[in-house]
């Protein structure tokens, strides 16, 4: 079992940008219902893609710097980072099967 890790403004550089494997960052906020609903799906996927893709969560309410840097204006918002760069972005709630396609495309 591999679970999504929490990242914040301070740890983003090290945990996401310098990661050796791709990192999916879930930009979310407690007021966003679709984000809360997406969370269990992302937990399942974190398990399915363990050791291939790291899953991370960033609360945009608490971490305005990173959210602003990546111009987050809508959530749920998933960005997949590979070698420090955003390579794929998924805005809005998507079911698991569709997310898998996006994840597989990055690998």
């Amino acid at each position: 079992m591999s679970k999504p890790i929490e990242v914040d403004d301070a740890s983003f550089e090290q945990k996401v940008l310098q990661s050796k494997i791709p990192v999916l960052v879930d930009f979310w906020a407690p007021w966003c219902r679709p984000c809360l609903m997406a969370a269990p799906v992302l937990e399942e996927l974190a398990s399915d893609y363990a050791s291939k893709i790291t899953f991370a969560k960033l609360d945009v309410d608490q971490n305005a710097q990173v959210a602003a840097k990546y111009n987050i204006m809508a959530i749920p918002n998933l960005i997949i980072f590979k070698e420090g760069k955003p390579v794929s972005q998924i805005v809005g709630y998507k079911p698991k099967e569709e997310l898998k396609k996006d994840l597989d495309a990055v690998l």
């Binding site: 007021w31 966003c32 809508a74 972005q89 709630y93 079911p95």
Partner: protein, 309 residues
């Protein structure tokens, strides 16, 4: 809960909004083995509503999300099973109906279709390109990103006005752009919006284009009656126009009207024996949580009769 789901049921309900959940409460209480299939989030469209004030029994109003959760809990309590999957087709066999999904096939004696409707898009230049960059379809999710900024809401129904009222708590001002000269929203919603000084209205106006490079900057508008073009500088645009029925998977199986809604009689029966429909997906539905819930209960009662006949 999904991996070991059994495959045969008395009743399969497609869609987890008020219609589907209400149907599930009734079929489960009748001790029919029942499965509800939902592709996304249980709760349905109503779950996007910040405050539901017209559902009887909640005198002070209730958040749409909470209402959805309560319905789900109530249905689960009586034994309704849930699976998360997208329905891709419906097949009719001699004495059973096969529901094809992304998680395999499920069969049932009766099927209640309550897959509702999804949000319409404007289908104009800039909309897709700037989705997530100022174009949004969920005010309760994204309003805080537009603090003290000018925002447009496109639409004139209850959902649009509810979004405008929510956005007015954050934005510098909210401009409601509607293609007619009066709202479709309920009068009490309109009164609330008119009483809110940060909300303005642009009547008889359509959005032709959304402009901006990295973020929404400006809307290109057209006055419907005069044809006169204009521009409006905004930081974001919330789209809340018409809903379209989620019936693509039913084409050729269940008779639909021209707009794609399911035609039923007053027992919620479609033309196909054993296939029922409930909620927003029905032709002429008023698209209210309470009417959807009523449809769901009716469909469940007559589905049970169908199974026992």
């Amino acid at each position: 809960m999904t991996a070991k789901a059994k495959k045969e049921y008395d009743v399969i309900i497609i869609g987890g909004g008020p219609a589907g959940l209400s149907a599930g409460i009734y079929t489960s209480r009748s001790r029919l083995s029942s499965l509800l299939i939902e592709r996304g989030v249980v709760g349905g469209r109503i779950a996007d509503a910040e405050l539901v004030e017209n559902y009887p029994g909640f005198a002070e109003g209730i958040s749409g999300a909470e209402l959805g959760q309560l319905m789900q809990q109530q249905a689960a309590k009586y034994g309704l099973s849930f699976v998360t999957a997208e329905v891709t087709g419906l097949e009719l066999k001699k004495d059973k109906r096969v529901v094809k999904t992304t998680r395999g096939d499920f069969t049932a004696k009766a099927v209640i279709i309550a897959s509702g409707s999804e949000r319409g898009k404007l289908n104009i230049p800039g909309e897709k390109e700037l989705t997530g960059r100022g174009v949004s379809y969920c005010a309760t999710c994204d309003a805080p990103f537009f603090k003290e900024k000018p925002i447009a809401v496109v639409g004139g129904g209850n959902a649009a006005i509810s979004e405008a009222l929510h956005l007015a708590k954050f934005a510098s001002h909210v401009i409601v752009i509607h293609r007619r000269n009066q709202l479709r929203a309920t009068r009490i919603m309109e009164e609330k919006a008119r009483a809110q000084s940060r909300i303005e209205f642009l009547w008889d106006t359509v959005v032709e284009k959304i402009e901006g490079k990295d973020a929404v900057r400006r809307l290109i508008l057209r006055q419907v009656k005069t044809g006169k073009p204009s521009t409006l500088d905004v930081a974001g645009v919330f789209v809340s126009v018409g809903l379209k029925p989620s019936t693509d998977f039913l084409k050729g199986v269940v008779p639909l009207d021209k707009a794609g809604y399911i035609i039923t009689n007053d027992l919620m029966e479609t033309k196909i024996p054993g296939i029922f429909a409930a909620g927003d997906i029905r032709q002429h539905s008023p698209r209210q949580a309470i009417t959807a819930a009523g449809d769901g209960a009716t469909a469940a009662v007559f589905a049970e009769k169908f199974i026992n006949q």
